[in-house]
């Protein structure tokens, strides 16, 4: 009824074949890890940008990602839009949503203690999660299949689905765009200035409030994009879906060095690959645990992150 496999167990087959089967699996796992990692990276960028500019860990960021996934879902199913329009709408809506969160919840606390702002962020996160459940219920939704009719391709016996290539392409494009915005535009210059020294930036005539809002807008738009991409790739979305990816992205941001953009990208990809390899080694149940062990190790041995310089904090 179905083809009887010739090699059931790669350990028992000749070395040359065994080797290539092993390589095949390894490459496949790397591809899995990079797809997952690029989603982490997109979310981690938002964490890192916000931290870089207001020194706040925005725990509501994972929930913006969730809201983005739902906006994309409704654009596709209710308004019958394609993938790219849905992605843009979701990014735009999340940008506005991010600015609203900043203006309503964080701005009044800008001069409060950092712990107060942090607790508020947790509060906002819970509010968004359970607000969503209250509005639409806790039941999951499924992204429709075949929005982007991409065929999977096979390279060296490794099957790469069209969607994981799409994730990768979208992520890389958005990261390049972000680099461009931060380094080549006026608002990017303002962002760098504010992150360097808020008061001095104000003296130089930079509108600090608008710059911070812009940072939240860009970070949230990236989270929205990650939400739609996640929905496309993993199909299932639900109101509490932002928690774990949000925490993992936080780990990724710390891993790369929080506040440093290339660090967030590298951290995200690295974490995705680490998780895939842990699963590949047969410890799939330890996957989440390992991510947090990575966090602890990095905090002990290299608190500034892989890309960070050790800067003494100003007193």
């Amino acid at each position: 009824m179905f083809p009887i496999p010739i090699f059931r167990d790669w350990e028992f087959i000749p070395i040359s074949n065994g080797g290539s089967a092993f390589m095949e699996q390894l490459i496949q796992q790397l591809v899995n890890g990079i797809s997952l990692g690029s989603i982490y990276a997109l979310i981690a960028l938002g964490y890192t940008m916000v931290y870089g500019i207001v020194k706040l860990i925005n725990f509501a960021h994972g929930d913006v990602f969730m809201v983005g996934a739902f906006i994309g879902f409704y654009s596709i199913t209710v308004f019958h839009l394609g993938f790219f329009p849905a992605l843009l709408i979701s990014m735009a809506a999340c940008a506005i949503f991010g600015v609203l969160i900043e203006r309503i919840a964080y701005k009044p606390l800008r001069n409060a203690t950092r712990i107060a702002a942090l607790i508020t962020a947790i509060g906002v996160s819970l509010f968004i999660e359970y607000g969503t459940i209250y509005i639409r219920g806790a039941q999951p939704e499924a992204y429709p299949n075949g929005i982007v009719p991409l065929k999977s391709i096979e390279i060296l016996g490794v099957k790469i689905s069209g969607q994981s290539l799409l994730i990768l392409a979208v992520s890389i494009f958005l990261m390049i765009l972000l680099q461009f915005i931060v380094h080549k535009t006026k608002i990017g210059k303002a962002m760098r200035a504010v992150s360097h020294d808020q008061d001095a930036a104000k003296l130089m005539g930079i509108n600090v409030n608008n710059t911070i809002s812009a940072t939240f807008a860009i970070g949230s738009a990236l989270a929205g994009a990650a939400g739609v991409v996640f929905g496309m790739y993993y199909t299932k979305i639900e109101p509490l879906m932002g928690i774990i990816p949000g925490l993992k992205a936080f780990v990724a941001a710390v891993l790369g060095g929080i506040g440093i953009l290339p660090g967030a990208m590298a951290g995200g990809l690295l974490l995705g690959v680490i998780e895939a390899l842990v699963s590949a080694a047969g410890f799939s149940l330890w996957r989440d645990g390992v991510a947090f062990v990575v966090l602890i190790l990095i905090l002990i041995f290299r608190p500034a992150g892989l890309f960070g310089k050790n800067v003494r904090e100003k007193v």
Binding site: F127, Y134, Q139, N145, K236
Partner: protein, 394 residues
């Protein structure tokens, strides 16, 4: 000004929380809580009406509602059965709250629910100590009614148990599909999944098959590519995935995307329309499930139920959860009738003595561990539709 805004946020949070709390109590059928049991006999339903496995709870409730409508046409000794629903949000602590509320505030004579074994087990203590029978329509784990050599005498179920489903699947894989090697992919957080996997493994190896890979995931995971890649590397003839639809849908989809063509099989946990949405029609081809019932079964009792159900629910074809919910209501109604009383201890006794009750999901007889002995069906997914394959008697 600042303080005001913060206060405003807090106030709105509180308000939202208040509205949510209000929502809960209003769904549990306010008015006729107190004493006045003269008119109606109250039955609690502690079900997963929202949350991860919401579709189970909602389907069961549809079945119960239909059954009660029919039963109440005649009533029991001039009294009507009235359902007091409680939404446990697919969460064990909530299920405990629900059982406590239904028993101590609403004073129900019995509770139907929960849908999953885990949420049912959470209520056992409360049912036992208050001597109120609970009846799970679909909790299939074997230790729900009987654990460590001790019978939970106030706990009943309408469905058959896990070992039976695992055995049926192993038999089907080895004999019908002629599979020599199999991989098992379980939800390590679920007793249900582990129970099925254990009985599958036992029989499949006894039939001469070999389990080449065992992988696990945790409920709520979304990325299964890594484990599936490991399974693919072993090239099994058959993959047994005894999980719930929310994850299974994604597993089947990701497996097919990785190029795994082997037949996959699960059990009643797959049975939800969401599965087809999540996995996609094409990915589900060449997959099978064991189940309690099929609307494609030609038994007249089944066809009568399908007709009544379609008439009530806009031509929707009833699934196994609908059928088991329906049967659960009849199971309890029959016991209350035979007990001739609303005394919970007498109802418990009557439930335990059930023998030969004709239900939609088969003829019901309880063994001494409160497990029903009845038939199972095997269904195959073809282009996103379940089709009846065969019926297996115990």
């Amino acid at each position: 000004m600042r303080k005001k805004k913060v206060a405003g946020i807090f106030a709105s949070l509180m308000l939202a929380a208040g509205v949510m709390a209000g929502c809960n109590s209003s769904t549990s059928g306010g008015g006729d809580k107190d004493g006045d049991k003269g008119g109606d006999i109250l039955i609690g339903a502690n079900l997963e009406l929202s949350g991860g496995v919401a579709s189970y709870g909602q389907s069961i409730k549809e079945g119960i509602d239909l059954a009660l409508e029919e039963i109440n046409k005649e009533g029991i000794d001039g009294k009507k059965l009235k359902l007091v629903p409680f939404d446990n949000k697919s969460d064990a602590p909530e299920a405990i709250n629900g059982a406590t509320k239904l028993i101590s505030q609403d004073k129900v004579v019995a509770i139907i629910g929960a849908a999953t074994s885990g949420n049912t087990k959470a209520q056992i203590e409360i049912a036992q100590s208050n001597k109120v029978p609970i009846l799970t329509p679909t909790g299939t784990a074997d230790d729900v009614t009987f654990k460590d050599g001790k019978l939970n005498d106030y706990v009943f179920r309408t469905c058959f148990i896990d070992p039976f489903q695992g055995t049926v699947a192993a038999n089907f894989a080895a004999k019908e599909l002629k599979a020599k090697t199999a991989a098992i992919f379980i939800d390590s957080a679920s007793d249900y999944s582990k129970g099925l996997a254990a009985s599958f493994k036992e029989l499949f190896t006894k039939e001469g098959g070999k389990i080449v890979k065992e992988e696990a995931y945790v409920a709520k995971d979304t990325d299964f590519n890594a484990q599936l890649t490991n399974i693919k590397g072993k090239n099994p003839d058959f993959i047994f995935i005894p999980g719930y639809y929310e994850e299974v849908g994604l597993i089947v989809k990701q497996a097919r995307e990785l190029g795994i063509a082997a037949p996959m099989m699960g059990a009643d946990g797959w049975d939800s329309p969401k599965l087809i949405e999540l996995a996609g029609k094409d990915a589900l081809n060449n997959t099978f499930i064991t189940n309690h019932y099929s609307s494609g079964d030609n038994d007249p009792k089944v066809q009568e139920f399908v007709k009544a159900f379609k008439a009530k629910y806009k031509d929707k074809s009833p699934d196994a959860f609908n059928a088991l919910g329906y049967d659960s209501a009849y199971f309890i109604a029959d016991a209350i009738k035979r007990a001739g009383s609303t005394d919970t201890e007498k109802i418990q006794k009557a439930l335990a003595e059930t023998d030969g009750l004709e239900l939609v999901t088969g003829k019901m007889k309880l063994d001494d561990k409160h497990n029903p002995i009845k038939s199972a069906v095997i269904l195959e997914y073809k282009n996103g539709e379940q089709s009846f394959k065969t019926k297996v008697n115990p």
